[in-house]
Structure formats: C-alpha cells, structure tokens
Symmetry: C2
Subunit: 367 residues, 2 copies
C-alpha cells in the first residue's frame, strides 16, 4: 500500500482519542464501516490507510498521524485537498496540521514555476528584502490608480499590487487599469532607472481569470496576483500551469476561515499549488497570528522541499515603516515587506514616505 | 450608496465591539485607514459602507450588521465571497452569519438552474421524500461499482451518487465508470419500471471538470455531483452556468472548515451559486451539527428567496434506515435522505436492505 503521512490535531480526551483517530481514518479513506471496505481485497490492501502515531499535542488534545492512500490523493488537484481535509473538515474537533509530500503529488502539482529566486531576478534585487505596496482603496478611477502607482514607483518600491478588491469594475475596468498602471511603472523605469513591477489582481470564474492573465501578459505585466481560496486551489493551479509565464503572488483572502494550521495552508499548500510569493497577515498588525505561527509559515515557504522552488513570504496586514528593522530581523532578507495603508496616509507625500520605506529596508538588510 | 447587509458574529467584549466592528467594516471595504479613503469623494460616498446595528448575540459576543458596498460585491463570482468574508475570515474572532441578497447579486449568480421541483420531476417522485445512496468505498473496479449501482437501483432508490473520493482514477476511470453505471440504472429501469438516476462526481481543475460534465451528459446522465469548496465557488458556478443541462448535487467536502454559519454557507451560498441539492452532515450521525443548525440549513435551501428556485436538502453522514421516520418528521417531505455505508453493510443483501429503506421512506412520508 502506497501511502503518505497527514497530521491532524484532534481535540479529544485520552479515553476517546483512539476511536476518534479510527473515525477520521475511515472518513478520509473508505467512508464506510470498516467491514464494508474489507470485503474487497484491493480496497483492504490499498485504500484503508492506517494510524501511524498518536501523541499528546503540546497545544492540547492529540497529534494524530495517519498514513493515507496515495492512489486517491493523486487523482487530480481537487482530490489532493479532499484526501487531506475534505470530510475531516466537517468534524469540529479536527485541525489539519501538516502533511508529507509524496513524489507523485510533487509531480502532479509541481509547486512554484518561478519562485523566490526568479522574483529577485525580475526585480533586480540581489540580497536585501523586497518591498511591496498596494493600490487602494477600491473605488479609485483608472487615472487615480495609475497616479498612485506612479507615485509609489517613484518612491523606489519593488512590486506594486492591486488591492484584492480591485476586479473588473465598471468604475475601474481591468484592461484599462492594467494598461495605465503598467505604463506608469514603465515610465518611471525609463526616467529613473528603477524598475517597479506592477501586479494586477486576477478575479472571477476560470474563463475570466484566464482571459485577464492573457491580457495582462500581452500588456507587458511581469507578475500577477490572485487569491487561491477565492478561486479554488485547483483553479489557481490550472492558471499557473496553463495560462501564466510570469510569477504569481497569492493573496490570503478567504483562507483564514479554514481550520488548517496557517503554515500548512498558506505555507505548504499554497506553495505546492504554485504560488511564487505568499502574502499573509503578519504578527503585530491588525490580525491575530502569533510570531511563532508567522515564522513557521515563512519557513514552510522557503525551506528545502524535495527540489521544489522556494516561495517568497510577504508579511502584510497593518505593517508600518517604523517596524521595518524589527520585521527584517525576524524574517531575514528572503522576504517581501508589504506596506499599504500606512504609506497612503502620507497623501501627497506618498512618494517621499515610500522612499523612507525602501531606504529603511535597504538599511535594515542583514549582511 | 448602494449597499447590502452582511451579518457577522464578533466575539469581543462590550468595551471593544464598536472598535472591532469599525475594523471589520474597513477590512471588508477600503482596507486602508479611513482618512486615506475619505480623501476620494467617490470612495467616501460609495465604497465605505456603514455599521447598521450592533446587538448582543444569543450565543455570546455581538451580532454586527454591516451595510457593505454593492459595486464591489457584484464585480464577479469570486468578489462576492471576497466582500462577504475575504479578509474578515483572517480575523479569528469573526464568524460570517448571514447576508441579504441584493437583486444585482441574484442576477449575477442566478441560483439553482433546476432546483427541488425539477429533481422531483426527473425522479418521478411527486410528494414523498427522495432517497439517495452512494457508490463506495473508493477502490472498487468499474465492474464492482456498476454491480453495486445495479443492486442499489434494484432496491428502488431514487438517486445513486458516486462517493466523493471517486474521481478519474486509473483503477476506476471516469468515462468507463459513468458508462457502466448509467447502463446499470438504465437496465434496471427497463426491467423494473423504476427509474434511478446515477450522479457521477466531477472533480479536478476547471477544464477536466467541464470535460467530465460533457462526457457524462453525452452518456445520458441526468444529474451530477461536485464539491463547491474543493473546486472553488466561482468554478462551481461557471460549471453550472456554462457546461450543465442537468441538476447538480453539491457535496460539502472542505466546507466544514470555514468559520461560516452552516446555513449561510451550505444553505444560502451553495444555493446562490447554483446547487440544486445540497448534501450535508445531519445531526445524529458521525458529525457534530445540532438539530437547530440542520433545520436552519434545510430552511435556507427551501425558503422563498426573491423568486430563486428552492434547492433540495440532502441530510447525510451516518444516517440509517432505522432513523427514517425521525428524519422525515424533522425535515418534512421536501428532503432527500442519503443513506450510504449502512446499506452497504448488508453485503449480498444490499438490494433487500435498500428496499427496506425506500419502503420506510414511502411509509414515513407526511400527508
């Protein structure tokens, strides 16, 4: 039986945990009473998985490692998530903590097509942390968005991304916005020599997202953004595989709702499904992730993993210029700091404020 | 300002709830400090939303109703979810409870194309509850699956669905399985006069799912199944809109992980995105939903809703023949009872056990 290991945290008392682990094992495999499954030799030998380990979890409850059948997990990009956490997600006492990566899944999903190193090459940033900001609030016209894009680029930022609420709006159409923002960063590059990359947000059903990807690349865009949990992981993966020649930043919208350890979802799964960089809500901002959870997440994106390309962690969500040195000290140089609203508060002085941000990052880079 | 109401439960003390509500409002709208957004007249007037109401929640914390901007919500099928719960999902103290349906969203998403009434017509069941079972465990060959399908059909079941782990497997390929199972239900219908519908599971990236939908319909299939949260809601919706002429059953895999009230996600959102029937883990089985939560969910699927078609609730997850009368008394006649593993335990007597199930349902139907 070919299997791979999946780790859950089960919030059950010691007296119940064996039965709960058996129940989760059945749920993630044959989903019938064991007697039904055992009547079929192939099912009994290849599809039932087994309990590998049950140990106390430091956070309470138990850490349960199951060996789950590989043949079902590698059927397609939706089934891998299904085998990891399809029905188990319906059990309120179960959290998905981690999984090992079988070679067959790595071949199916591949991971980042570009990754951290390619983002360094595309931005021309050899060693220091990268910088990123956002075009917001939603509601700006194309001219207003493009003007903001130009001002941020003049401040020396590396990547400027659309707000995740920027879609194909009548008040700010996708094609016109992408054309204007790409022209803005091109103009600044020609004038100042600093190349900023503009990352439009791709949103909608699969056909629309694919069309947006084609349009953006035809207009010279060198990086894009999308939210895997809004689109669906298999749709995000098909986009990366079939429609993109440029790196993609993954936005975490709708991802915090899941009862999955952030390092497993935003770290390992997003990387596995092809994200080249992953934006996440860092500690110390307006969200509630702990420093330890953020460190685990960043490590999951960058750690060696069976030859898969590393992805770039992009901590965000209420970051400020004042926190740059703390963040670089914590995350290291292989990071992209995303500061949005706090730069925009400078109003007409946004270029100068952005310059202060990019200079702070250059100064804080670890040698 | 055109807005629609979204209700959250925020787990905060009374002293903090105003500030938390303001923070969630900014998160779901302009995602910048308010001062940044207010500098743009269009944004200030149309994009900032407002707090409608803050009242104690009977379950603890507060019920916070926000009026959120419609222009961003109707941009596309991904943005509606984004505006409902994109970044708010990242806040551990926030649960999505409910939303109102603006006419513009109803026009964008339409809801079920067929619905409860069409499933009654397709199965020929005028008034009693419908019956459903599942082809499992995964690991059966095409011949074994088809044989099980025939035995269940001989028991008089209305709909037989694939297990949600049944995808396009080398050991049970999609096309061969669909052909064999459809032939099995056709043969039983010709022989006995009882028409069972077979519902294959569609799984994978958008192109694969679409191809499977086309193949299944070409082979005479009259109903299909897919898991909206595995595929992504916009992908599920595009499938319904562009590739299906037959009803679709929505499977809840990966949906329980979300911090969304089940009636809002499996009830309202699944219906809105086009599910004709929704399978859910009923109380009293191996999952943890309460009777009240199940009742709310079933009501959300069937209640009048601005002219949208009603969807059929399909309680599942450890149901048994012995519980039929209790379940019909609770859910009423407009329900489809899904009994899977418990029928399969009968082994070679599965047709007889299925007959007991279908007769129990006929007997329990409310007059």
């Amino acid at each position: 039986m070919e299997t791979f290991d999946v780790t859950y945290r089960i919030d059950a008392p010691a007296s119940d945990v064996d039965a709960r682990a058996e129940a989760v094992l059945l749920e993630q495999t044959v989903e019938t009473p064991a007697a039904v499954a055992q009547a079929y030799p192939f099912v009994r030998d290849h599809m039932m998985g087994r309990i590998q380990e049950i140990t106390p979890h430091p956070g309470g409850g138990f850490r349960v490692v199951l060996a789950l059948p590989l043949p079902t997990a590698i059927a397609d990009a939706a089934q891998f998530v299904n085998v990891l956490f399809g029905n188990a997600s319906l059990h309120a006492d179960v959290v998905l903590e981690d999984f090992t990566l079988p070679a067959a899944v790595a071949r199916l999903l591949v991971g980042p097509r570009h990754g951290l190193a390619a983002l360094r090459i595309a931005t021309g940033v050899a060693e220091r942390p990268l910088t990123c900001s956002a075009l917001k609030p939603v509601g700006l016209t194309v001219d207003e968005v493009a003007r903001l894009c130009r001002r941020l680029a003049e401040g020396g930022i590396d990547i400027i991304k659309d707000d995740h609420y920027l879609a194909d709006h009548p008040f700010c159409p996708f094609d016109a916005r992408v054309r204007a923002c790409q022209a803005a960063v091109d103009e600044v590059a020609a004038r100042t020599g600093h190349r900023t990359l503009y990352a439009p947000n791709l949103s909608g059903p699969p056909d629309a997202v694919r069309r947006q990807a084609e349009t953006a690349q035809a207009l010279g865009v060198r990086v894009v953004m999308a939210a895997p949990m809004l689109l669906g992981l298999p749709t995000f993966h098909a986009l990366v595989r079939d429609a993109l020649d440029v790196p993609i930043l993954a936005h975490p919208a709708f991802a915090g709702a899941l009862r999955i350890r952030p390092a497993a979802l935003l770290g390992k799964l997003f990387r596995l499904y092809g994200a080249d960089a992953v934006i996440f809500a860092s500690f110390g901002g307006r969200f509630s992730l702990s420093p330890a959870a953020c460190g685990d997440l960043a490590d999951a994106l960058r750690a060696p993993w069976d030859g898969m390309r590393a992805a770039l962690p992009a901590p965000a969500g209420g970051m400020t210029v004042e926190r740059v040195s703390e963040l670089v000290a914590f995350y290291g140089n292989d990071v992209m700091l995303l500061v949005g609203g706090s730069l925009l508060l400078a109003g007409e002085a946004v270029s100068e404020r952005t310059r202060a941000f990019t200079e702070a990052v250059a100064g804080a880079a670890r040698s």
